[in-house]
């Protein structure tokens, strides 16, 4: 196995390592197989077996079974796990390699050279000696489910870019057009943002054709306006901001699903927002104006007199200002001072005496 560096000057920084078969091996009819390896010092070695929860001697059938089971568990549309997207992507990558006996053997060979605890990872220049990877096995992958990003740097350094990585080399191939994939991502905002509207800077990675004819990942920052009145679970569609099309095809769309960060004092149900409001016994008895917080700022709330704990008040259209604005609900909770003085107790005793006929438990079938 001979390997040579075409560009010595940037051999490790940009990391272009070209592997070519010796000229003798290359008959005129054989297409030169070129594999681009992007070497990055800080890359992390990925244990695909561990990701799939299987042993190194797992059969292809076991791999398939493990994949199916974990895919159901971590599929972002199905899973309730917090890191589902990340796990599902990892799983897809692991499966992409292990399901293919060719790639699996190459990966196994690599793993033998890798020492546990090693910080960065760098594939040896001739790690893929004797293997040839075919671009067409990358058609599906798991893209689309986890934003615009593809497989990890680790994967790409070994097997190239998923989706068209090798196609640029096949000069004279039929020209074909394909619409880019739609991309999906979740965006977390605060409830207050839904009242005022906000914007978010998102960094997406998309593949573009580099000046040297190789596809490259280009980060792209997008400032997305999130309109006032948005509700959790709603989706924003950004036309043409998904993956770029192939061969002049249309770009896919980007869908952003909105989620709210959990809030310390408000509960949200659709467009309705609610607040549990602690009040004093005398506020409950006498009523009055008190200041309360709402996601759009402090307001004065008039509490009617003689109102019991647990009673709900509704402020119409003070919920999320959606197309059909929600309401703001206030549940009153009577709270007593932590310590009652002798004087306080005497006053309550007086209340007890003047209200001796009052029994709030008659509905429970309890007499006095």
């Amino acid at each position: 196995m001979r390997s040579f560096h075409l560009e010595q000057k940037d051999k490790l920084e940009i990391g272009k390592l070209f592997r070519a078969r010796s000229l003798a091996e290359n008959s005129a009819a054989k297409v030169l197989s070129v594999i681009v390896i992007r070497v990055r010092g800080t890359m992390e070695y990925k244990d695909y077996y561990k990701i799939m929860g299987i042993t190194k001697d797992a059969s292809q059938n076991e791999i398939k079974r493990a994949y199916r089971k974990l895919a159901r568990k971590y599929h972002p549309d199905v899973s309730k796990e917090k890191d589902a997207e990340e796990r599902f992507k990892e799983l897809g990558e692991a499966y992409e390699v292990l399901k293919d006996p060719e790639k699996r053997t190459a990966y196994d060979q690599l793993g033998a050279n890798w020492k546990a605890g090693q910080q960065g990872f760098q594939p040896p220049p001739d790690w893929d000696a004797g293997f040839e990877f075919h671009g067409d096995s990358f058609t599906g992958g798991t893209e689309g489910s986890a934003g615009a990003a593809g497989f990890s740097d680790f994967f790409e350094s070994l097997f190239g870019r998923a989706g068209g990585g090798f196609q640029s080399h096949s000069a004279g191939a039929e020209h074909y057009q394909m619409r880019g994939q739609d991309s999906h991502a979740k965006v977390f905002i605060d409830l207050e943002d839904a009242y005022q509207g906000t914007s978010r800077n998102l960094t997406l990675r998309s593949t573009i054709m580099g000046p040297d004819g190789h596809p490259q990942l280009q980060p792209r920052t997008l400032n997305v306006k999130i309109p006032k009145g948005i509700k959790a679970g709603q989706n924003i569609r950004l036309k043409g901001q998904g993956s770029p099309g192939v061969g002049g095809g249309q770009a896919g769309d980007l869908y952003l699903e909105i989620e709210f960060n959990p809030h310390s004092i408000y509960k949200v149900n659709g467009a309705d927002v609610s607040l549990e409001l602690p009040i004093t016994p005398w506020e409950a008895a006498l009523g009055g104006k008190i200041k309360i917080p709402t996601p759009s700022g402090m307001i004065d709330l008039k509490i009617p007199e003689n109102i019991s704990s647990g009673k709900k008040m509704r402020l119409k259209q003070r919920g999320i200002p959606a197309k059909q604005p929600g309401d703001f609900y206030i549940t009153l909770m009577i709270v007593l001072p932590e310590n009652l003085s002798e004087e306080d107790k005497a006053l309550f005793k007086k209340l007890q005496q003047t209200n001796s006929h009052f029994n709030p438990r008659t509905k429970l079938g309890l007499g006095k």
């Binding site: 549309d77 914007s199 920052t221 306006k225 989706n235 924003i236 952003l256 509960k267």
Partner: protein
């Protein structure tokens, strides 16, 4: 990169589209009409007025998202369309229940 002006993008809230015609749905999902009609037949989505002929079909905005989820489930979990529909319906139910639980718990 850093010096470049960041373009501000304004999207459309999918749930606030009024209705989506069959033609638009095809375009948004990058699917031929036959596939959409199949999705209707299998119950992934329902036209708003089922009595109309399919050229006049209108769909609610969430149909778009349902189709995409069905496609992802089919592709990633190797289920057929009927399986995807079943999953979608159960997911809807779970989502609703979770919301209720979250609302009651806090």
């Amino acid at each position: 990169m850093q010096n470049e002006m960041i373009k501000s993008e304004v999207g459309i809230v999918v749930e606030e589209y009024d209705h989506i015609s069959l033609v638009k749905l095809c375009r948004y999902c990058a699917l031929p009409a036959e596939s959409i009609i199949k999705m209707v037949e299998r119950g992934v989505i329902d036209p708003i007025d089922t009595s109309l002929s399919y050229t006049h079909w209108q769909f609610s905005s969430t149909s778009l998202l349902r189709i995409q989820t069905a496609l992802r489930l089919q592709r990633d979990l190797e289920v057929n369309l009927a399986g995807a529909v079943l999953a979608l319906e159960l997911l809807d139910e779970i989502k609703q229940l979770r919301q209720e639980v979250a609302y009651l718990q806090r």
